[in-house]
């Protein structure tokens, strides 16, 4: 009886070790996927930045949305190409203004994190919508700062909005990973 138990115990321990190794492998694989995804998105961003038509259409779309938002708020602006112009102040939407890098890093993290595909899709949706909306709010607010407090544009842009953007994107990912990805996994 004791001998049998010992054999079963050994078998169990072996299975456990194998499983733990597999789980460790999964963690390693997740990190590897994260790095690979990042590299993939980096290549994608580089390709986009080299492709003027792609960047221009994205920039133009953002400029139009910002201009429309400002006009809704009572400003007299016009989106001319990638520039949001008014009689007194303008914002040029360059490639870096589109939030492309931020979105790419966020998507890489969602893609690499072990979760079901549905949860990953949901995470991507949350991130794309959230970051895009935040970027529009950021550009609209910077237009107002430039109009009424031009001295503080740099401070607001570099200190306040950059920090807010980083914290918000991190929060979005942590929220998704903690509430959506883990919940799905637990169930």
């Amino acid at each position: 009886m004791n001998k049998t138990t010992t054999i079963w115990d050994r078998v169990h321990r072996s299975w456990r070790t194998i499983l733990e190794q597999r789980r460790g492998g999964r963690r390693l694989a997740s990190i590897l996927i994260f790095v690979l995804s990042l590299s993939g998105f980096a290549v994608f961003i580089l390709w986009i930045m080299g492709n003027e038509a792609a960047t221009a259409s994205l920039q133009t779309a953002i400029a139009r949305i910002v201009s429309s938002s400002l006009n809704l708020l009572g400003q007299k602006t016009e989106a001319i190409g990638t520039t949001v112009s008014s009689a007194r102040f303008s914002i040029a939407v360059v490639t870096a203004c589109t939030g492309l890098f931020l979105t790419a890093v966020y998507l890489a993290a969602v893609l690499a994190y072990p979760a079901r595909w549905l949860a990953k899709l949901l995470g991507a949706g949350i991130g794309l919508t959230g970051i895009f909306t935040l970027n529009i709010v950021r550009l609209v607010s910077l237009f107002y700062v430039g109009l009424y407090f031009p001295r503080y544009v740099d401070q607001v842009h570099l200190l306040i909005w950059q920090s807010l953007t980083i914290v918000f994107s991190l929060f979005l990912w942590l929220f998704w990973a903690g509430k959506v990805a883990h919940a799905a996994y637990k169930h």
Binding site: L38, T83, A109, L170
Partner: protein, 374 residues
Amino acid sequence: MRHGGSRTGLRSRRAAGGWLLCLALAPLVMTGFAADPPCEKAPDLWFPAPGIVLSHGEISVQQVIGPGPAGNPLVVCEGTLISVITTVDNLTCGDAGSFDVSLFYDFLDGAHLIGVQHVVGLDDCEHIVLEFAWDTTGVPPGEHTIIAVADSGGDVDELNETNNQYTFETKVEVRPLVPLIDADKVFLDPNGGSPAPGDTIVYEITIRNDGCRDHHNNPGHEFTDEIPALMTYAGVATATLGVVGLEGNRVVWNGEIPAGGAVTITFQVVLDNELEDLETICNQGMVYWDSDGDDTNDSQEPTDDPSTAAFNDPTCLTVHQLPPSAPMAGTIDAPTLTEWGAIAFGALLAAAFVGMLMRRRRLTSGQRTGEEVG
């Protein structure tokens, strides 16, 4: 013998007295010749500048004094008595005989003569301080220059005849006994920079009463200003004195201006959005005032743009419209993240990623332990 002896004694006494007199006078004669050699030079009259130390350590004075506060110009009302003090000096060792010192304002003629003083004579290196009283009654309003002339009658033959004239540094501004009105008009763009279509512009008019009589609130408007085309009255007008308002399409003002005082009127207009680039809009206000003190506005004074050299010219502004497509000074590009921001975000997300993986490991191992225990 007696007579002869007495004659001889008398002679010797006279001789001795003569010698004594010679001995006594010799030093006086010798020193007198040494200290005051005969002067071969002609005298030279001039007006030393104020502050120069003269003979006997005295200081030269050239001064214009009025009853009110000092200043340059010295501002007085017509009819005020002004005191003019001048110092005339003889530069050389030659004595000057009698001469006249005359004082004029603006021009050296009889019509502008303030007064003449006679000097009996001026010895070598001596000076004299003269005081003139100038009654400004009848003197035309405005700024005047006082000129002093030494030896105005040409009585003294001088070494240098070109330094007999002195122009006082302090000028005298005589103000009339009636109101005297002057007006300036400027524009301000509260946004700064050049006026642009749609901008609000503030016009500021300053009306001064430089006369010595208050300007009363007489029948009719004291000031009117037509608002030109392509501008709209913005409904904001102020005046430091009196009452300002809009009558039709013109800003009007009624009120008093005290003697020597001023009133500032401001009103705002909005520039038309349809104004084209480099379009110029000019306008000019008009002050209606009482020039003879009979409380009737009988004179007109157009406003002057003080930023130009021209006198009584309108105030003009030029609109600068920037093409909306052209990048302006106020254009910014605002990248979402800077390079360092991107690095920080990447690092934080990677840390969060590893942290969440570890948390997940703890959760799964907890689940497994639970299953095993169960």
